[in-house]
């Protein structure tokens, strides 16, 4: 009965948007970064803990919509256990996916529910917000990405 709504808001998005599994600050972390979307006020703060050169765990605090929270939550699972280089590759694949509507790497099927934002252009930034913060965190900048203080 909700076909018109479900294309973009698949069950995964709805569930993770409402009750993310990784939506909290890590008690211990070695990298972190904030991201924000000035146009709408959404914010995310991403925390990373590494072990043996790989991302052991990712947690986040976010204020935002179902799409950005679900995206952050899926991100936490997609990068867990990956090297930094691989995590950045995955981020690139997401940035590509939200424009093209497809993700080619079958190992990233987990992220496919985000693909539909490609036809809701104004929501692309919601989906990519946590991924931008991830990039910042991995780059070690730790700054609010791109922000300029008054």
């Amino acid at each position: 009965m909700f076909e018109d709504l479900r294309n973009l808001y698949q069950d995964t998005i709805m569930q993770r948007g409402k009750s993310p599994k990784h939506g909290s600050r890590l008690a211990v972390f070695d990298a972190q970064a904030k991201g924000d979307n000035p146009m709408c006020g959404d914010r995310v703060h991403v925390f990373l803990r590494h072990e043996g050169g790989r991302v052991a765990e990712l947690g986040f605090e976010a204020r935002g919509c179902a799409i950005s929270i679900a995206s952050a939550d899926l991100m936490a699972e997609a990068v867990a256990g990956q090297s930094d280089a691989r995590a950045l590759e995955i981020a690139d694949a997401v940035f590509a996916m939200v424009r093209t509507g497809d993700i080619t790497d079958p190992s990233l099927d987990l992220l496919r529910p985000l693909a539909a934002v490609s036809e809701a252009k104004s929501r692309i930034k919601c989906a990519t917000l946590p991924w931008g913060a991830l990039q910042s965190a991995l780059a070690g900048s730790g700054a609010e990405k791109g922000s300029v203080e008054a």
């Binding site: 909700f2 018109d4 709504l5 294309n7 973009l8 808001y9 709805m14 948007g17 409402k18 146009m39 709408c40 006020g41 959404d42 204020r63 935002g64 919509c65 179902a66 799409i67 809701a120 104004s122 929501r123 919601c126 008054a150």
Partner: protein
Amino acid sequence: MNALIKPAFDVARIRQDFPILGEKIRGKDLVFLDSAASAQKPRVVIDAMVHAMERQYANVHRGLHWMSERTTEAYEEVRDALAGLLNAPDRSHIVITHSSTEAMNLVAHSYGRGILKPGQAVVISAMEHHANLVPWQMLRDAHGIELRIAPITDAGELDMAGYEALLQDRKVGLVSITHMSNVLGTYTPAERIVQLAHRYGAKAMLDGSQAVVHRAVDVQALDVDFYAITGHKLYGPTGIGALYAKRELLDAMPPWMGGGDMIRSVSFEVTTWNDAPYKFEAGTPAILEGIGLKAAIDYVQGIGFEAIAAHERQLTEHALSCLAEIDGVTVIGHAQDRGGVVSFTMDGAHAHDVATLLDRQGVAVRAGHHCAEPLMRRLGVDSTSRASFGIYSTMEEVDALAAALVRIREFFR
């Protein structure tokens, strides 16, 4: 148009004047409830701009040839139309800008840096649009002006006692407050705001970006010193706005931008300024936009603000009662005197998701902080969804909004 034979308000007929309202979105009729962000354009505005581009165009003011003379005349008519709209004494009180944002920046730069003295204060309110906040912050930081924030009540009205308290030390040089909130729909008591400002020796500006669209404004009756408006919300084109100001203020204020048209005579050593309002208008003006806005003003005046206000009141009341019935939906702002803007939140659903899910059903609303972040903080929300009405909005569209919200509510369960 003849004010005497004003036909009864007929929204179906009005809708025919707006070509875009025939569009389909995702196979559904467009339900456009985002007019407070920018209104759609009636046929007469489109035609006026097309006529200018197809048949009568040249640069204005300095041209001696036929096209330039005619275009200058057509363009300058917008100044009379604006003076008429606001009941200004005459066109010399009307500075044409590119938006109300520019109009308020003009005052912040020219009056703010030119006339206000460091140590003086500017009062705004807690429900201002960023356009009536950020320029004053920049003035504060650049020029040593104190910025004071008049509080609002939980209902979303200006707290008049709190406002007056800010004036009492007589350090306030200028008050700048919205005439109608773009988030809450609240009309502020403009006359009292101005009176109190004057009583304590301050000048008063009103941000009329929203108010002027919905009700008749009389700057002389308000005795307001500055009044800012923007054309694209008033069914006119983008890229044009205006500042009304009392003539003695315009005369005293230094110019802001330099360039053609605003000068009297130029040498490398000394330049003298043109008279107001031209002193504040540098460069080639928004010619096509002026011609379009003139048509828009004629159009709304042809309908009449009494009829417009009554229609929008009806829509707003209907919306408020429909939304009140939807479990989990909360309307934000309960001012007694309000215009056609209704903000709301939905429990457990972010405003962006609500807006996107409305859009999927063909209903266009805005969601976010509406360029009023500090107001969001005051209200204790991150963002709201906002439905806003124009002269072409219908009761059926309000029903469509309510029905779509009910579905979203179910979807989120």
